[in-house]
């Protein structure tokens, strides 16, 4: 299974001079440092880092003047936010009803077996992350899989490994 997350090394003061933090700070200023901008701020931060490092959550919390506990609570409440780095490339299998009816579980089983990865985790070399989603709203294309931002429709279990390997090879070249 996926190893437990070790938070200890992440908790510290963020480096306020890093370019990314500066960009984040500018964005927060633009939002007027309002506490209700917390979710928007987390969206932006995750867009920059690919996930939400704890020091960044603390930085956002202090800038928006909300307790770190509340910011952390929001992060863990919403599925979209991740405390864990994703893979370099990410495959997301839709598990909405239409995809379920058309065999999404078969796709997950096949990817997990062929890439030695668990849903919610990444491969050992971190090249591919596997996630599941509630419904990406592409029900007409069920079963649907996304590779990074691209939607792949009507994917068959027998083809999924080949498709993903092709995508990975293309992305690496």
């Amino acid at each position: 299974m996926i190893p437990a997350l070790n938070h200890a090394h992440q908790i510290g003061e963020p480096n306020r001079n890093s370019p990314r933090i500066k960009r984040l700070a500018t964005f927060l200023r633009g939002l007027g440092h309002k506490p209700d901008a917390l979710i928007q701020a987390l969206h932006v931060a995750q867009g920059m880092y690919g996930y939400l490092p704890l020091d960044i959550i603390r930085f956002i919390a202090s800038e928006l003047k909300v307790p770190p506990s509340r910011a952390y609570g929001v992060v863990t409440f919403y599925h979209f936010f991740s405390l864990r780095p994703k893979g370099e490339h990410n495959c997301l299998v839709c598990t909405g009803t239409a995809c379920y009816v058309k065999g999404a579980q078969g796709l997950i089983d096949r990817i997990e077996a062929d890439f030695d990865v668990h849903a919610g985790g990444t491969t050992a070399d971190n090249t591919l992350g596997l996630q599941t989603a509630r419904c990406i709203g592409a029900c007409g294309l069920a079963p649907a899989v996304t590779f990074d931002e691209e939607i792949l429709g009507k994917v068959k279990a027998d083809d999924v490994t080949r498709i993903l390997r092709d995508k990975l090879a293309k992305a690496a070249s």
Partner: protein
């Protein structure tokens, strides 16, 4: 913008359109885009220029045309001919034959090679014939990223009419007369909701658009937001005027990046023309709207949870009353409606409540958008008058069961709804009639299952969904869904006992009655509905350790009957 300026802009936009002999709309809904529509659009644009046809032909991206299964789609106007399975390669034929020589390409017509008859005018095909488009009337026909295209079909005229010629009470009266009910699922009369927000006194009021389309298998709101975003903005602005609000929030799922992008463009364009902002049509009425992006929590579709999320908090629901109409966002009177509800508003104001009330059923006027998916030939997006039968939807419009399979059940209402079995195929798609057969209208997801779907496993699937999406605030939902899921998993792995079934039937009503919000209150519905119609399948799993549909992996060793085992 003044009255005259809007009229002049409409005339100009119309003239620009009629100057072209043909319009080629390339479906750029999320579904078609994912299968190369972008490349087709760029290719057609290039080709039209290369062939010196650009003076007569306009190529544009449009919203979802509905027949998603046959995509990518290209619509040729004015003939209303839709071509299916277009590729960047064969798209050139449409220009060479149809546009240049007036010779339609029959082999590529929508539904060619399927059981439905392909038609030159797609509106004559079985798929479209029984549909009535109100919410989707512009979807697929206009460029969602061009406000002038929306204005050319009369866009923002309803807002002008409301602000310039109607009192707030008039607008509310029109909504009440229309008989429109909330399209998010609960079906509360929209006019009444507006009236109660209007009546609460407050210095500040808000309107919120619920675009947190969380039901798996539902993509109606996504298509409306992607295909006709101005329509929703206009509906919100009219609602804001009616209830006396000047600020709105549009809450959209984070999973819908294209919808967010198109809304951002739409808001920017509307602000630039003065159709959003202060002093609309030189009056003292103003309306400003902000997008809030959801972060993937199903419970945020519940209105009080959604309000918490807009405030930047965990999306936990709170007990009602007080209803948001009295105390909502930041404690102020707040109107919350669903995307499809707002999209119904401009035509009601424009054409009158009476016109709208004549469609549909006496107690449920108008049309409903459904997202057809699962084991059906024509997966896609449809809009039908309320009261049409399920049989008509599935077999006339939907083209029947995929692969000639046997219909087993249709699921409506997502995790809050239930299944409709074969004996109820003639049920009317109407709030009351669906409730009578044990399901709900819901937001519009309609998933078709054939004999390869195992109903206890379907119940387990939805219960797992509710268990994971339960926010954890109240115990009946948090613990109840977990226990139901445990017992259903036992049944679906061949370890279930009759005692589990008894306990499930005892627990389900408790979860229903005691949960705080709609998520828990409706979580047992899929279980209760499948038990009502497919009890024999549960018994086969428990007694014979057999899954009739061949879906469940049953444990080898049958468990002794009546012995309570550890919950899985």
């Amino acid at each position: 913008m003044s009255l005259q300026e809007l009229k002049a802009l409409e005339e100009r936009a119309k003239a620009r359109k009629t100057a072209k002999k043909r319009r080629l709309c390339v479906c750029s809904g999320a579904s078609c885009l994912s299968i190369n529509a972008g490349e087709i659009l760029a290719g057609l644009k290039r080709l039209v220029v290369d062939k010196n046809l650009d003076a007569d032909v306009e190529v544009l991206p449009s919203g979802c045309m509905g027949a998603c299964n046959q995509g990518p789609l290209v619509l040729v106007q004015p003939e209303n001919t839709i071509y299916q399975n277009v590729t960047p390669e064969n798209a050139t034929v449409i220009v060479d034959e149809h546009v240049a020589k007036n010779e339609p390409v029959s082999a590529m017509l929508l539904f060619a090679g399927t059981s439905q008859q392909p038609m030159l005018d797609s509106r004559q095909s079985d798929f479209f014939k029984k549909q009535v488009k109100v919410v989707l009337e512009n979807c697929g026909l206009i460029n969602p990223e061009d406000i002038e295209d929306y204005i050319s079909v009369g866009g923002y005229q309803a807002l002008r009419k409301a602000v310039c010629t109607m009192s707030r009470e008039d607008v509310i009266a029109e909504m009440k007369q229309s008989g429109l009910r909330g399209r998010g699922g609960a079906g509360y009369p929209t006019g009444l909701k507006w009236e109660s927000v209007y009546k609460y006194v407050g210095d500040v009021k808000y309107v919120i658009c619920n675009g947190d389309e969380g039901d798996p298998g539902a993509f109606m709101d996504r298509s409306v937001l992607e295909g006709d975003p101005h329509r929703v903005l206009e509906g919100m602005a009219i609602a804001a005027y009616a209830v006396g609000a000047s600020k709105g929030y549009l809450y959209v799922r984070g999973e819908y990046p294209l919808a967010i992008k198109r809304l951002e463009i739409a808001i920017k364009q509307a602000k630039k023309l003065g159709l959003l902002g202060a002093n609309l049509f030189e009056s003292d009425v103003g309306f400003d709207v902000e997008i809030r992006i959801g972060a993937g929590a199903f419970v945020c579709g519940e209105e009080t949870a959604l309000i918490a999320s807009v405030e930047g908090k965990r999306g936990l629901p709170s007990p009602r009353p007080p209803y948001p109409a009295e105390r909502g966002l930041w404690g102020k009177p707040t109107l919350i409606n669903n995307v499809e509800t707002y999209a119904n508003v401009p035509p009601i104001v424009d054409r009158g409540g009476e016109w709208y009330s004549e469609m549909g059923m006496p107690k449920a006027a108008g049309t409903k958008v459904f997202a057809l998916s699962g084991k059906i030939n024509n997966t896609g997006l449809i809009e039908v008058p309320i009261g049409i039968t399920l049989r008509e939807v599935l077999f006339d419009i939907g083209g029947g069961i995929q692969g000639g399979g046997k219909f087993k059940a249709a699921q409506t209402g997502g995790p809050s709804g239930g299944c409709i079995p074969e004996q109820h195929l003639d049920t009317k798609m109407d709030y009351a009639a669906l409730q009578a057969v044990g399901t709900i209208m819901g937001s519009g997801g309609l998933i078709v299952m054939d004999e390869h779907s195992c109903m206890p496993d379907v119940a387990r699937f939805f219960t797992e969904f509710c268990m994971e999406e339960s926010c954890g605030k109240c115990i009946p939902c948090r613990v109840g869904t977990k226990q139901m899921h445990g017992m259903l998993t036992k049944i679906c792995t061949g370890r279930g006992t009759m005692r589990d079934l008894e306990l499930l039937e005892e627990l389900a009503p408790m979860v229903k009655d005691a949960s705080l919000c709609g998520l828990g209150q409706s979580a047992p519905n899929p279980l209760l509905s499948t038990l009502r119609y497919f009890r024999d399948e549960y018994l086969a799993h428990i007694r014979d350790k057999r899954c009739p549909a061949g879906v469940c992996k049953m444990a080898n060793a049958p468990a002794a009957e009546g012995v309570r085992q550890d919950s899985a």
